[in-house]
Structure formats: structure tokens, C-alpha cells
Symmetry: C2
Subunit: 328 residues, 2 copies
Amino acid sequence: MKKASLKDIAESLGVSKALVSLVLNGKGDERGINKQTQQRVREKAKELNYIPNQYARGLRIGRTNTIGVIVPDISNVFYGKLCKAIEQEAYAKGYNLIISNTYEDTQKEKKLISDLINRNIDGLILASSFDSKNEIEGLRENKFPLVLVDRVFKDFEVDSISVSNTQGAKKAVEFLYDKGVKKPVCFTISPVYISSINERIQGYLGALKDDTEAKLFQIPHDSIEDGVNQALIELKNSDYDGIFCVNNSIAKAILRQANLEGYDLEEMEIISFDDIEIFDIVSPKISSISQPIYEIGRNAVSLLIDRFEKQENHQIQHLVLDTVLIER
Amino acid sequence: MKKASLKDIAESLGVSKALVSLVLNGKGDERGINKQTQQRVREKAKELNYIPNQYARGLRIGRTNTIGVIVPDISNVFYGKLCKAIEQEAYAKGYNLIISNTYEDTQKEKKLISDLINRNIDGLILASSFDSKNEIEGLRENKFPLVLVDRVFKDFEVDSISVSNTQGAKKAVEFLYDKGVKKPVCFTISPVYISSINERIQGYLGALKDDTEAKLFQIPHDSIEDGVNQALIELKNSDYDGIFCVNNSIAKAILRQANLEGYDLEEMEIISFDDIEIFDIVSPKISSISQPIYEIGRNAVSLLIDRFEKQENHQIQHLVLDTVLIER
DNA sequence: CTGAAAGCGCTTACAG
DNA sequence: CTGAAAGCGCTTACAG
């Protein structure tokens, strides 16, 4: 198949490519091009099934109306929904998305970032696995349009959207105490330098009535089931009576392991960061700290587009959204 | 920020753009370019942080190493995992992905397809919501590289990968009978013309011992919870004693509604197409017909790339993979 | 061993 | 009201 080009339309109509381009980009009236000619151009374009080559256009214009999105793992419900929110907002504003996963692999993340920039994305929304802002300091220096979501860096002059993780974790632990829990334990996940995870741990520690009783299980992100199983075994013979999970993956693993191995968790009060649908239908009941996912996604796109449009006049923002306790 | 171009490297080294291009594309030795010169080029490229402009390259070469993926809804676990599988395989082979959701909106699907083609994707992996192959007949005629996944069309000469839905549904119903179910009902989802859904319904009907007792609840895809709730109410006062769900969304809704409304499903034997993790941890127990998601994704990418490479010599394939019954 | 030139398909000053 | 030309950044025959 040979795609029709501007030239094909121009030649078959006996006009110039420039005229065709103008008409098709809606600048016909503004440039005072004959209405009839405009009509003929549009008809011919339709007839030849003309589709503009966005790469030629991008090369010329320097913009591609494409936003890159990098998340740890889109098959994690949280990031799946986040991408959905981003996609809806982007689509409504005429932008396409290129979504990629890092699986917490920082080497892959580096490669993805340069790959995406190669592809001339206009900007990047990033939930980074990097342990420091240094990895992306270059982007900031080059003023590359970037918005950090979910995972942010301290003192980094780049747009960011996160939730009040420390507060949320505190709410969670206080909820456990309210429910009569005496000794709450925290299930966290590696890598712990991730800002969101780290803040939730701080929140847990800060909310403890007696911080000599702090107990953290650090589950490796790439062997959650095993890690959780080990932790549950240890827990069985202890007097810990409440669990705070730093994210939904951990909570799910606890449910599954308890089920598979037949651990009884009915005596255990459990609360998890991230509210996911299945918490409605499982037992034991799991309460949760719900994040405003759609707000995060929407704002990420808005900030990025504001940056495109306002250029130098864009004000860097650090949005921190509130979480909601969902009691079950 | 001004990105470095071939020209920048060439000028600062006093060589031609052509030479730089050759070296950077690994054709230096093949073309017998001085080793030292090659070294200098590579160093300068690194120093200037050179990133090739893929749009210029794509424009010139006519290929972009980008694959488009269109699915109904990436936040549905099945499609989330499918995209993950596709992404892993594509990434390993040096391709990028542009993923989009249709939310079963055929107008949006049309627009997405032309949008993606605008962007010069090399090929498309499509889980279509269209009710007929006519909508994409044009792609086939134009020999646009296309692979259908999950949802396919009869007598359509385009690569496709699906599972044996009819067989799978039969297995499911037979499982219900084996468990002592007398009258199994089928929860299906609109739009029912979707091949995978339709075949599962046919499988259900075909496996019934007494087809005068066929009972289908057709749940609208955009109000699943309500639809399921209505159906469950009707079911409460009936003698149906087994449920076959055509997909995981339905099964999840049944669990949630039963939980919220306090319906007792313990007497009910339930099986669902799609095996999702939460089935391990919910009650009542839900058995499932598991699809080989990773195989589907991997094969989709392989078929597409084979098509790129072999061009006219590529053999159209219709892969139909088997499902596995998971009993709980 | 290396360079000059053409051209991918588009948009945009510039000219008339 | 319309066209000719330049140029975005790249690759690839072609020439020497």
C-alpha cells in the first residue's frame, strides 16, 4: 500500500503542496484561500484517504503530541488505574501516550527514558524507581517537560504529584489502635528508598505509641509471596495483633498466603495503603487508605500541558493530595 | 536545551554527517571507516549526549520500531497482563509500544486506529470491539501489519491469536455438572457479538444436558454491578444451582454484590472464564478456565515481527491456544 | 577511506 | 489568492 501524501493531492488537483497543507490544517480561511479550492482539497484528501505523516510533521514542527508514561508495573492495579486516568485526560486533550514498565529495574528505566526522548515525546510522566534525583537531574537541567507522580524526590524543582503518605500511614496506624490493636506491625516492600514507601514507613513509626515495639517486615518486591509467607510464620508465634501494609500487593499476598497455608488471621486487624476493589469481597476484612488515583492522573497531564503551553511562564508545582480512610 | 544532531558532531570533528551516521549505526567496519575516526565519532557523540531523532530516522527509513496496541480496558486484569506480556516481548526485540483503550467504544476505536497509523506505527495488535471485520477490512486490503488477539473474526485473512473459547466454556459447564449442579446458568456480558464472548455462550449452550433449561443473564458492560445485582435477585428465588461467568469482571461483580447485599452463594457452584489471582482468596470458591495470557502476548509480537521481516513470504496464521481448568 | 547530494513528507516564511 | 523554496534530521546510493 502506498499512503497518499500532500504531494499526491497537490498534483492531482494542480495546486501546490503548501496550499493543501494550509487547507488541511484549517488555515484556509485565515489565509484567504478560495472556498471552492478548499472544498476540492478536502474532497480529494478524503478520496485518497490521506493521513498526514506525523513524523514528518513532528520533525518539522518539533512537537509530536505524544506523552511518555513510565510506571513500575502496569499490571499492578494502582498503576493500571493511574494509566487509565492519564490516558483519558490525555486523549481528551489530543495527546497520545507511550506507556512503559520498569519492573523496578533502574537500568531499564534509564534506557526507557532515553528511548522515549528519542521518540520525541513532548513530555514525560514518571513514577520512578530511581533511588535519587541525580538520575534525572539532566532532564531538569535541560528543561525537559517532566512530571513526577506517586514517587517524588525531595528538594527537586520539577512538577510533582503525590499523596500525603506520612499522614495516610498515621491514619492507618491510629485506626488500628482505635480497633483495639495493641502491637501493630508494618509490612513494607523493597526498594524502601522509594519516597512513597519510605514516607509510609515513617508514618507508621511516627504513629506508634511505643516505638521500641516497632516491627517491620521488609518484603522483596520480586518475591512477595515467599517473603510474606515467611513473615506470617514469624507472626503466628508472636503477640502482634495488627498489620499495616504499605501497598496493595502486600495485602493481596497476605490474603493469598493465609488462604493457601491456612493461617488464621481473624484475630488480626489489617489495613492497607491503596484501596482496591477486592477488599470488598475478601475475608478477613481489610480496611484501606485510598488514594485519589484519578486526580493524580488528571493533574499530571494538566501540569504537563500547562508546561508545554506556558513555557517559561509555567510555575513549578508540588501537589500533595489527601488520602481517605476506608473502614471495613 | 538544544539537542545535538549529526551535524553538530560532524562539524565539531570536521567530517561529514554521512560518516557519523554510518559509524553510529555500526556500519563503520563494514564500510571500512578508519578505526580511529570511528572512535573519535563515538566519543564526541557521547560528549554531546547525542540522541538520534527517531522521527527523522523513521521518515527516512519508513519504519519506526513502534507497535500499536489497542485493548478494551487496560485496567481489566486480563488486558493488563496481556499488555505486560506484549510489552516484555516487544521490548526484548527492540520495539516500543503505544497502548490505547477503547472502553468498548467503536467510534473511539476507529479514531485510535487512524491516529496510530498517523504515527507511523509499524504494526498493530488489536483486541477489537468492532461487531464485524468490515471495519478493518481496509487494513487487510492495504496489507497493514495487523494481529488480532483475544477477539477475532471468522473467515478473515489476518493473523490472529485466540483461545478455544467454546471448548473452554464446555469444560466449565461440564465441571459444574460433575460437581452435582443440576441447572447451570450463564452470566454473559454485552456486547455479545464479540467473538470470545459469543463462543463462550455457544459453549455453554452446547454443553447443557437439557437445552430447554438454558438461562442467560446478559449484563451490560457499562453497568456490571447493577446488572449482576438484578440477576442475583432473580436467581435467589429460582432453582438454578450453578453459575458460569464468561469473564472475570462478571465473577468479581458477583462476589462483590453477594457480599454487599448479603446474598448467600454457598449453595451455588461458580466457575469463571479467566483465572485471576483473587480467586485464590475469596469465598465462595470460584473455579476458573485459565487462559495462557503470556503465550497470547508473546505470539502476537512474534507474528507481527515475522510479518515485518518476511514481508510477502509471511504465512498468515490463526493460532488457537488451549485453556486450562483450575478447580477450587 | 570519505564526502556531497538527494530525498523521506511536512510547514512556514517570503514573494508576488 | 497562490506558489516556490527552504529546512527539520536523518540515511543511502553514488562518486571518487
